[in-house]
Structure formats: C-alpha cells, structure tokens
Symmetry: C2
Subunit: 247 residues, 2 copies
C-alpha cells in the first residue's frame, strides 16, 4: 500500500464526479459536507447520540418513522413532513437525543457516503468542528487517505474544499513523515486553507452555498460550522450506520 516514496498518499476528491478516478482500494476516506450534513453529524455525536442512519429517500425516512425511529431531514430548507426536525447542527444538540439512534435524511451527504462505501475502505465523517480528531483517527489507520468533498449537486464547493485543505495541512504537519501528497487538488486545497485560516468564517462569505443558505434563512449555522475543533468525536461508518469510534 506504500507509494513509491515509502509514504502514504493524501488525495482530495473535489467533486463526486471525480470519484471514479481515484485508487481507493483499502483507503481511509474522510467524507465532508460542511453545510450541513457532516457538521450536523459531528454535533450529534458530540451530544452522544448512539448512532445515525443516513438515508436519501423520503420513503426510507417514513419507513423508519413507522418503526419508531427518530427521524430528521429537510428539502430546500423545509423540514420534511415525516421528520421531527431539520438538518441544522443545533437540532442535534438536544439532551433527549443522547443514547438514541437518529435517521437523518440528507441528499449530497448520503449520496457521498453511498459512493465511498466499499468492503476495503474505512469511512470517517469530517467537519471543521472535529478536524483534528478525525485526522488523528485517519492517520492511526496507516493507509492512504482521501478527503471526499460532497459538494453541492456535484459541483465544486468552496467550504468543503477548504475543509479538505485544513485536513491535508494537519496531516502533513502531524503525520510524522508518514504521509505525502502529489495530488494537485490536495495542494490547491491546502493553499486555499493557508490563505484563509486566520479567519475562515470571513473567507467563506463569498461561497456560493453561503448565499443559498442565506436565501433560505439557514445561515445561522455559519459561525458554528466554521469553528475548528470544538468537538472530539470520530464518527465512522459501520455497516449502514454511523457510530462514534471513540464511544
């Protein structure tokens, strides 16, 4: 699994469309969808939910609800009729959710998780809020690392790319020389992070999705979502569920 330089490669997949180009056999994949799926998942595990079941179809959410599960989800900023609450990270901070399984309906985030799932892969959930924790876990696996940006409708997304850069930088600086990159999108992401890290919240003002959120009145999450390392949980995919590998 070692590359020719005797180090594990770090790569960044900047859009789901690019995923088929990657050598992902046995890799660690960190999936990110900053606004809002993965930031909300991290918030949920920080609040000690037991697990999250990510689903993409409304029919799936309804089926889980009928079995008695707590269901969250929204479309275009509106909470789904079958859901108790929407996908804001703030919704996942309620104490009553501790120890519970939540079925979370997301579009880009769930699609991303389905794409990267493979018998040989380890899949983690990354956000600015758990950057160090998820990267430390990824490095411990001693495998190639791919940061997978869920994007928005397959488009390149500034906030996801910025997180990828924050992860690349952290891994290169803390990987004890075990990791390297020859991936242009990893290099670019890290440079964009370098440029913005003194104030990522201000930098993200120009992101397209930030404007979409504002239009839908969902931009109350920006300050929270752009904070580094407020959470220490390490959500990972285990079968069909996401659990905290540190719990």
């Amino acid at each position: 699994m070692y590359s020719e330089q005797g180090k594990y490669p770090i790569e960044v997949c900047i859009s789901p469309l690019s995923w088929p180009l990657f050598q992902k056999e046995g890799a660690v994949v960190i999936v990110t969808d900053i606004f809002r799926a993965t930031t909300s998942m991290v918030a949920a595990f920080q609040n000690r939910v037991k697990s999250i079941i990510p689903v993409a179809e409304v029919a799936e959410s309804i089926a889980y609800k009928e079995k008695g599960y707590i269901v969250s989800g929204e479309r275009e900023g509106k909470t789904l009729e079958c859901a108790e609450f929407g996908n804001s990270p703030f919704n996942f901070m309620e104490p009553r959710l501790q120890g519970k399984t939540v079925v979370m309906n997301t579009t880009n985030g769930t699609q991303a998780l389905k794409m990267v799932k493979d018998g040989n892969n380890l899949v983690g959930i990354g956000a600015f809020t758990n950057r160090d924790a998820i990267c430390n876990w990824a490095m411990e696996q001693q495998r190639p690392i791919i940061i997978f940006c869920a994007g928005w409708k397959n488009r390149f997304s500034l906030e996801d790319t910025l997180f990828a850069g924050a992860a690349v930088q952290y891994i290169l600086e803390n990987g004890k020389g075990d990791f390297h990159t020859m991936c242009d999108s990893a290099i670019s992401s890290a440079d964009l992070w370098q440029l913005s890290q003194s104030n990522p919240r201000a930098y993200i003002e120009k992101a397209a999705h930030r404007h979409r959120l504002k239009k839908m009145g969902l931009d109350d999450i920006l300050d929270y979502s752009m904070q580094l390392n407020t959470c220490q949980c390490v959500p990972v995919l285990k079968g069909e569920e996401i659990v905290d590998s540190k719990a």
Copy 2:
C-alpha cells in the same frame, strides 16, 4: 443572457467531468491546457501559422499527412511516427511554418475542444502567454464566460486552474463592471492565482504534471509556458480549425 444582477457570469470548469453541469448556451468558452496543447497553439499563431487542425487519433494524423499536411503530435513524450515534430511550443516557432496549416495531435486538448464545441458557443484558446489578449476578446463578445480546464486525464490540474484564476482576475478587474462571479471554482482559482502571481513559475514546481514532464525530459518548456502576455494572438475555433481572430 444577463444574470439576475444584470452582469455576465464568469465560471470555471475545473475538469472535463464537470462540463455537463454548466449552462453553456451561447457562452464564450476559453479552453486551456497549459502543459502543453494551448501554450503551443498560442506559440504557433504568434509565429503566424495560418491555422491548426486539432485531432486526437493517430489515424487522423496519418490521413492528413497523406494529403500533404504538416503533422505534429506525440504520445507519452515521444514524437508520433507520422509526425514531423512533437507538441513543445518551441517546435511551433520555426519560420517555415508561417502561413501554413498544421495538424496537431493532442489528447486532453483536442478532447476538450470537442466537448465545448456547440453551435451557439464561441471558443477561444487560452494560455498564460496570451492571457490579456484572449480575455479582452472574450469580454468584447458580451456573453457569459466559462474557462474550461482540460486537465490531465480528467483530473484537476494545478497549472490549468492557475490560468483560470489569472483569467478570472483579469476579467473582473478590466470588465468595466460587466462581469461578476458566483462560482466557487472561479473564486478559488482567482485566490490561488492571487497567492502565486508574484512568481507563478516557482508556484508550479509542486504541480503533479510538472513532475510527469520532468520524468519525460519535457520540462524545458516551464519557463516559457508560465510567462504572462508574451503573445498577442487570439486563437479561436472556426469550424474544425483554429485560426487567429486578429489575423
């Protein structure tokens, strides 16, 4: 064709894979493949070739050669058997090519040109060496502008993205307020250019393709390719051929 803000949008397509996501009806598309197709095309028109016919298949090159055309092209750094010379920009600077048509065999570059060609589009050829000239032409058309990065085997490429950023910055600064961007890849590209513009040649040292070129002994073109505005030609697609719109 005006966007909601009453300005023409500028977007960056960072990989051919993303092309289907773009609204390209009636747009100006600037295709770039810095190492080496578009830099060589610009060098050829600066040397006053009459036209370039871009082809992707070796069989096409052979057919043109049999008709008496001058044929250039290479695969993996080796000049094609049917070709007189390879794809280095230096090969296109010979005085004997002036006034002639050259059939140029490229892979990523030709594929890109075929993808973007559409009855409603105007297609120009961009490189660092003709940045201002091609951008001025693009702005004169008063249409939405898309910078199309040919990349390398559909991958994100640092040098093409950097050119895209250089073009976005120039258009926003010189477009007299007629242009704007809400495209995250355009914003990111422009920021990377901002970061590197004091010495793009040094910045590109870390690009993956730069290492590929070095391995093949083709990196003698780096200094030349990274220079801004050494050429004033404006190569554009006209039917199956590329011609200089200023000639």
